[in-house]
Symmetry: C2
Subunit: 105 residues, 2 copies
Amino acid sequence: MTYAKSSWAVLADPTRRTIFERLAAYPSAVGELASDLPVSRPAVSQHLKVLKDAGLVIDIRAGKQRIYHVDPDGLAALRAELDRFWNNTLAAYKSVVEQPPREIS
Amino acid sequence: MTYAKSSWAVLADPTRRTIFERLAAYPSAVGELASDLPVSRPAVSQHLKVLKDAGLVIDIRAGKQRIYHVDPDGLAALRAELDRFWNNTLAAYKSVVEQPPREIS
DNA sequence: ATAACGCGTAAGGCTACGCTTACGTGTTAG
DNA sequence: CTAACACGTAAGCGTAGCCTTACGCGTTAT
């Protein structure tokens, strides 16, 4: 069993990454997402399952539909993970990576 | 043909990510890396090839050895890619992701 | 020249992954 | 009650990914 894959692995797939970015923009139903993607609806469902297992999204029933939202906690965890990686990577690299991180909110 | 895979895909593999973080800490030869990892030396070579193709590392011959370094340009590009993703994702998400980004250097 | 070292690469195997089609379930509409 | 809708999930397939072993090439040492 694939137990708890890393954020990197979850977002490695382009389709899944697109879905996630889109959900961040505005919550959507499955079919709605699928209609704008080059894959079938079940494929989208499967991607959503991976994202959900990773704690990145939440689903809320709305009648027949199922609206998927980005999970704020998961988003924060992702941020923490990226920060950790970035800090570790740049630990001994006080060099010319100018770009100061942008403001968040 | 695997043409130009994303930074996410490149860093999705744990072993490869470890190698990259370690090279950021200090440049190393292939065998040196392999001796600290649970995989064979050829496996490390293959990971390094992926990292090199992604522009994340550079190799410099030093006698019999081949020292791998992190490519500063690639590092900056990675930073840009992560920033882009993060900005896109948080575009319509001015919410409670408190954690202000840490300082870099 | 010969041997030993460090490495890249080819070949093959195994598993994980992403996709499709088919089907089952819960919900709203008529 | 029945039909239609939106969705999840199982089953199966093809491919990509990561690993190993085997081999070949350039470099340094004897």
